[in-house]
């Protein structure tokens, strides 16, 4: 299939799926309950944040742990600019608010009034003001992103991670001090942020779509490749002409911008801005999403966010009170599953002995517990109930540890979803023929029947030529489409221990 036709097909498929998603969302919006609605909106908002974090963490390989700080900035700026007049009055009337008349007057509405855009200050046009506030929030966050990004010129790796973490915490901790409280209303923040947007599926998903578009396009552009080069080896990237400072700071700023947007939607979703909405574990959730899905893969990130949001939102049955037999049953089954998993793991890894005693013991314990739970229902030992508070988070943590242990690169690794992959046009594994050709090329003279097929796999034209000078593959091979992410770069196997791990 020719390039342009493939592209056309991909665009059509994407549009088609987009339309289906839109219809589904419309159905949910109409018929799903508030909870489902909220869950989807939350998915989209966290998705935006996680995607933007992934630009820095996954693509550029700079561990950034301060994303909640950027979200905080975006969130607070947005709410400062959009909070309705009556809330402002209430804040002003509170004796102990640090807000000054000036900071209280900072709002999009007042700005529009000042420049004579009264038409845009009506309740119907709230969305315009919200959009403006959101963008301003994004930009302010971006400026902070630049401020944080500039130290990255000097620092590397973990040290940078630590500094971003420090910045994130400082932003949060100092937002409540007398220095910033005129803007943030101290630790109490703002209540009454309009939630028509953060809870609207349309708004959140539209912005999510936009973010996804921008992020994937960046990743598969020359700029994105340069960022990935930085991730792999900074020294080499610099020696290949990549301007480290510029690229990193730009990546940081773009990421912070979208984080600010996500922050704006987040406060709208919660209809309030408070400091404890922006704790470190927000960043943790995004990190979980990123690593469950696959570091550097945007497809994976969205999958990860879906998992996290699902557990967060629908995990409360886990924390209800159940009878002890239920608990024992569940624990027994889990141990059994773990044992089975261990056996499977050893098998696929070709470990010997496959049936390690530990696996057997684990299996027996699990079976024992399960049987006890089933047949010992009436025994006094199982009389009682137990409520596991925090089970949701425990589950999330265990899930993460298990996924990391078995698939450290995450479900998708660095690969992206692509139509070529979905339609099974994989090109990442060499065919036997290609292998044989390769063997032949690397050693034509020692070529023996055993190593390659007895039939000479190479075209006569190639054999006739001096191999190193021949470029037949240029004509035969097709040039890859820059738009088309290739599936499976390093996806299917990883070295047991990467022997080229140079001091990254």
């Amino acid at each position: 299939m020719s390039d342009s036709r493939t592209r056309l097909r991909n665009v059509m498929l994407t549009l088609g799926v987009g339309a289906i998603v839109a219809v589904l969302l419309a159905l949910v919006e109409g018929n799903g309950g508030a909870k489902l609605n909220d869950t989807l909106a939350l998915f989209a908002i966290w998705g935006i944040a996680a995607l933007s974090l992934n630009l820095v963490n996954g693509t550029t390989g700079i561990l950034s742990l301060g994303h909640h700080g950027f979200m905080l900035i975006g969130g607070y700026v947005t709410s400062l600019l959009i909070v309705p007049a009556d809330v402002r009055e209430r804040i002003a009337s509170q004796a102990r608010s640090d807000m000054t008349p000036f900071t209280l007057s900072l709002s999009v509405e007042n700005a529009f009034n000042a420049v004579g855009l009264q038409a845009l200050t009506t309740p119907e046009t709230l969305w315009v003001r919200f959009l403006v506030a959101l963008l301003v929030g994004g930009f302010v966050a971006m400026i902070f992103g630049l401020i944080v990004g500039i130290p990255s010129l000097r620092l590397k790796g973990d040290y940078l991670a630590i500094v971003t973490f420090g910045f994130g915490e400082i932003i949060r901790l100092s937002a409540s001090t007398s220095l910033f409280s005129p803007f943030t209303n101290g630790a109490l923040g703002f209540a009454g942020v309009p939630n028509d947007f953060g809870k609207s599926i349309w708004w959140t998903f539209a912005i999510l779509g936009l973010t996804l578009f921008v992020m994937t396009k960046i990743k598969f552009s020359s700029f994105g490749r340069a960022l990935q080069g930085i991730r792999e080896d900074e020294i080499a990237a610099e020696a290949m002409g990549v301007n480290l400072a510029r690229s990193k700071v730009l990546a940081f700023a773009i990421s912070a911008f979208f984080a600010g947007i996500a922050g704006g939607l987040w406060v709208s979703y919660l209809s309030a801005a408070r400091l404890d909405f922006f704790l470190f574990f927000l960043t943790f959730f995004f990190l979980v999403a990123i690593s469950v899905g696959g570091t550097g893969s945007y497809t994976g990130v969205l999958m990860g966010v879906a998992v996290v949001v699902f557990v967060q939102q629908y995990g409360d049955p886990l924390e209800k009170t159940y009878g002890l037999p239920v608990w024992f049953g569940v624990i027994g089954s889990l141990i059994l599953i773990a044992a089975a998993g261990g056996w499977l793991y050893r098998k696929t890894r070709r470990m010997r002995p496959v049936l390690h005693p530990l696996v057997v013991v684990l299996g027996l314990i699990g079976l024992g517990t399960l049987l006890f739970a089933i047949f010992g229902q009436n025994s006094p030992a199982l009389d009682g109930t137990f409520q596991a508070f925090g089970m949701r988070r425990i589950l999330l943590a265990v899930l993460l540890i298990v996924i990391m242990a078995f698939r450290p690169e995450g479900i998708m690794s660095r690969a992206e979803f692509s139509w070529a992959w979905a339609l099974r046009e994989r090109k990442d594994q060499p065919s036997d023929e290609e292998r044989a050709q390769d063997a032949w090329l690397s050693n034509p003279d020692l070529n023996r029947g055993s190593a390659t097929s007895s039939e000479d796999p190479l075209p006569a034209s190639l054999t006739a030529e001096d191999a190193p000078n021949a470029v037949p593959f240029l004509e035969r091979g097709t040039k890859p489409d820059p738009d088309e992410p290739r599936y499976g770069e390093g996806r299917d196997w990883q070295p047991e221990q990467d022997d080229e791990e140079e001091g990254r």
Binding site: G33, K35, A95, A187, G192, S271, A272, F277, D316, E319
Partner: protein, 360 residues
């Protein structure tokens, strides 16, 4: 179904559980409304505002008649917004920040408000303790503590005293910086408007650093975590809180007594039985009563009934919502004192000093 949105885990878990037990005991006593069994849908907000909002969304989906809780003002305010919008009634069991009920007409509370509580405490400090200089410890990131500290300071200053307000954030254990700040201010009394999680660390450190003044606290200290966690430092600690049988008058005292006895049967070894338990029970009672009064489970009718509720004989005193913004008209606040170790060799005891009605 009635939704219950409480802080069952996290910082306020003890208070949350005391409240929940109150609600459940009240349900034991009165499990039917309009001839149907009342179901409770319990949601733990993990003492986080997001959790509280999540719970609210869940209740909107479940279509509950009303929501009981949360206990603390921060979580209550967070949940109140979406509930008000969806038109679901909410009775916060013990949120005392005035702002809570101002959010909308569907939002009620069972407690008095902080302006009252703060005032009472300030008057007590100024008049009875004859204090002139007060150090106020305030938890900066909590609506309740923040507001309460403000009301105390305002009243105390208007009575001619001087105050200094020292901020800390939740989960602080090291108060040395705040204490150092307090050192220069020669105080006669210390007012603590925070919760026990921090108080349990603060009080011993105050004592160690040579602060032997009388310490006053508010209803957030009405929690066994305080004397258990802080030990001897809580000896003599005075706090304001929901009045129990000791300070209520007449019928109300008897009702409270009965309830306490019944409670002991249901939960013989409960950790806490205090004002929060009573408030929990009464929010349940009031809600069921309103449904009964309305004669249907229609939200508007129930809301109407609640708004017109007058003189309901609750276990924490009479409850009247008619003509208020959702705060019961007449509540009784009591002054309690901790003794550590307790009188008869027990770990600690709480004795009530006297009670004051909001009407007064």
């Amino acid at each position: 179904t009635i939704g219950v949105n409480l802080e069952l885990s996290g910082r306020f878990a003890t208070i949350g559980n005391a409240t929940l037990q109150g609600i459940e005991v009240a349900r034991e006593q009165m499990s039917d409304a309009l001839g149907q069994e009342v179901e409770l849908s319990i949601c733990d907000n993990q003492t986080t505002p997001e959790g509280s909002i999540n719970c609210a969304a869940r209740f909107v989906d479940e279509g509950v008649i009303g929501v009981l809780g949360p206990i603390s003002s921060t979580m209550a305010i967070a949940a109140a917004n979406p509930l008000e919008e969806a038109g679901v009634i909410m009775i916060s069991t013990s949120s005392t920040n005035p702002a809570t009920t101002q959010i909308g007409e569907h939002i009620f509370r069972m407690a008095y408000t902080d302006d009252f509580q703060g005032k009472v405490a300030a008057r007590y400090a100024a008049d009875d303790l004859e204090a002139e200089r007060a150090v106020v410890f305030r938890q900066q990131d909590d609506d309740y503590s923040f507001g309460l500290a403000g009301f105390f300071a305002e009243e105390f200053e208007s009575l001619g005293g001087e105050t200094i307000t020292l901020d800390f954030v939740s989960n602080t254990v090291d108060f040395s910086a705040q204490i150092n700040d307090a050192r220069g201010f020669d105080a006669d009394v210390i007012y603590y408007s925070g919760f026990c999680a921090e108080g349990a660390s603060l009080m011993p450190q105050l004592r160690q650093q040579g602060f032997n003044q009388q310490i006053l606290g508010a209803d957030a200290s009405d929690d066994s975590q305080c004397p258990v966690g802080g030990g001897e430092a809580f000896d003599g600690y005075i706090l304001t809180g929901f009045g129990g049988a000791d300070v209520l008058s007449g019928d109300a005292a008897a009702r409270a007594e009965d309830f306490a006895a019944f409670f002991d049967v249901v939960y013989p070894d409960a950790a806490d039985f205090n004002g929060f338990t009573l408030a929990g029970a009464d929010s349940y009672n009031v809600m069921v009563q309103a449904v009964n009064n309305a004669g249907s489970a229609d939200p508007d009718a129930v809301l109407d009934a609640l708004q017109n509720l007058e003189g309901y004989p609750g276990v924490s005193g009479d409850i009247t919502y008619a003509g208020t913004d959702g705060t019961p008209a007449d509540r009784t606040i009591a002054f309690f004192q901790y003794s550590v170790p307790g009188a008869d060799g027990s770990e600690w005891t709480k004795s009530s000093l006297f009670g004051i009605g909001t009407g007064q």
